[in-house]
């Protein structure tokens, strides 16, 4: 999984060449929508809450999309899908950073005492913040140079993304008051994506 994808050639190279800018723009679409809603005053009665939930939801969604790359690649046999993973992961990180910034600046108004209390006392903030902190080294070591430098350890380090995704879903689950339906959808998607990675023993036959 750590190895860079095969050298592009023919069909693959076209898919990657045209796919990359397209995925890049698609990932920016939520940001554009948010910008428009802010400018047009279409954030509803509680704009801070709206921006907070919007950025958090997109961080989590893109994290799940990133985690879908490997199972999708195995399922379809299209190795070049791997070449989108870094961009998707970095965009997930981007929306998470926005989410944390909105929490610190707009929601808490940089009242550090309150923020520290939140971190120490509120489980949903704790797991959310832990997920953010754990994402930082993954974003930093996402470059080709770091992949080369870390070798096998890169793969080991980046496996923490499974834990991060679990923490992210828990963060959502624990902040909801009564209606767990939406966070449970995220939990179910994550469960499928994690289950797809378990090396289930093959049924029937005798071949491996």
């Amino acid at each position: 999984m750590a190895r860079p994808g095969p050298r592009p050639g023919g069909q693959e190279s076209a898919a990657v060449r045209y796919g990359k800018p397209l995925v890049f723009l698609l990932c920016l679409l939520p940001l554009a929508l948010l910008g428009w809603r802010i400018a047009a005053g279409r954030l509803g009665a509680n704009p801070v809450e709206a921006v907070l939930h919007f950025t958090g939801a997109w961080g989590l969604r893109l994290l799940l999309v990133t985690l879908a790359v490997t199972p999708l690649r195995r399922l379809t046999g299209r190795g070049w899908l791997l070449r989108f993973r870094r961009m998707l992961g970095l965009f997930a990180f981007f929306y998470v950073v926005l989410h944390v910034a909105v929490y610190l600046v707009l929601d808490r108004g940089l009242a550090w005492e309150e923020i520290v209390t939140d971190l120490a006392k509120r489980p949903y903030i704790m797991v959310g913040f832990a997920a953010f902190v754990l994402l930082v080294p993954l974003a930093v070591t996402s470059t080709r140079g770091w992949v080369r430098r870390l070798g096998r350890r890169w793969q080991l380090l980046h496996r923490s993304v499974y834990l991060i995704a679990v923490l992210g879903v828990l963060h959502f689950l624990w902040l909801v008051k009564a209606d767990l339906r939406e966070p449970l959808i995220y939990a179910a998607v994550l469960a499928v994506l994690l289950a797809a990675r378990v090396p289930w023993p093959r049924l029937g036959g005798g071949q491996n």
Partner: protein
């Protein structure tokens, strides 16, 4: 120096509701003339989306001002009608405005029973004509740490309760919301235990600040705000102010309240606004005032939501950390 405040003028009298409801369109038109750059000044109060289901409702005649009203500026009608916790119509804040049209607030009967000498029932028309309707501009503080200022129309709950002659056994008052999944589609899912229930101690119920609301902004209650009759207890978290009431019962023992039943460690029976007692998952020290916009700081939450002078004596000697 005047000792008494001059009587507050209801906002509904200052601007006719029809003109008032169109003020955003008027402002938008003005801004459009001023140039498109105005959109970037983040004027959320000026450039808000068109009001959700904000057609003019039936006005309530002869509404009297009340000295109990705050002189703080009321939250916009759009926000009061568009940002609601009313799980009977969905769990998102925007759901009730979109879906509460299925509720039929007329005809409507409220049953009053339990420990009283004259149990019976009362129709909404009799409630509207039989009690002097007052404008009560109250702060409303939600347990989720946001707040509004709402120009309710209503009358003291005690005035209604007295007509049914509660006995000495009546130590509490229990309330129930309508149970009808056809009118309230949110009740098809067991998000809460339906029907929604709330309760007050009898002295809280008889307190002059406690009202039954029949309207807001001078008109009958919109469905999403708890039509046709809801409780308003301004010194308690919003979930105590039960909506669309069909039953009021005098009881000898403390009644069940839905959120307490659901999460007893997070929502108490008293649910008095208290900045010193945190919700287990968030601080109650400050709140966001709806309408303050994206860059405004939160405001300090006051003990009993600022009504301590009137209600603190009800809880003398009680440990409010224990009885939260």
């Amino acid at each position: 120096m005047p000792i008494l405040k001059p009587p507050a003028i209801p906002p509904s009298e200052i601007t006719p509701p029809a003109v008032w409801a169109r003020r955003r369109e008027l402002l938008k038109a003005a801004l459009a003339l001023a140039g498109t750059g105005a959109g970037l000044t983040l004027g959320r109060p000026l450039l808000a989306a068109s009001p959700p289901g904000a057609g003019a409702l039936e006005p309530i005649p002869n509404v009297r001002p009340s000295p109990q009203s705050t002189d703080e500026p009321p939250t916009s009608r759009d926000d009061i009608l568009g940002y609601n916790n009313f799980y009977e119509f969905g769990t998102d804040k925007e759901d009730p405005a979109a879906t509460a049209h299925t509720l039929r607030p007329r005809p409507w009967t409220v049953v009053v029973d339990g420990a009283c000498e004259a149990p019976g029932q009362v129709g909404i028309e009799d409630v509207l004509t039989g009690f002097t309707q007052e404008e009560r501009i109250y702060r409303l503080r939600c347990v989720e740490a946001w707040a509004m200022v709402v120009p309710w129309v209503g009358f003291p709950l005690g005035d209604l309760l007295k007509r049914f002659k509660p006995t000495s056994q009546a130590r509490y008052v229990a309330f129930e919301t309508l149970l009808d999944p056809k009118q309230m589609p949110g009740q098809r899912r067991a998000v809460l235990e339906w029907p929604y229930r709330e309760g007050l101690r009898i002295d809280e119920a008889m307190h002059p600040l406690t009202i039954l609301a029949t309207g807001l902004y001078g008109q009958v209650l919109p469905n999403q705000n708890g039509a046709p009759l809801r409780l308003v207890v301004p010194w308690k978290y919003g979930f105590k102010s039960i909506k669309s009431i069909v039953r009021i019962s005098f009881t000898a023992t403390q009644p069940v309240n839905t959120w307490n039943q659901m999460q007893p460690d997070e929502y108490g029976f008293y649910a008095n606004v208290n900045p010193d007692v945190d919700h287990p998952r968030w601080s109650q020290a400050r709140h966001r005032m709806i309408g303050d916009g994206l860059f405004a700081p939160k405001r300090k939450t006051l003990m009993f939501n600022g009504y301590a002078d009137q209600v603190a004596s009800l809880y003398a000697g009680m440990d409010l950390r224990q009885s939260f």
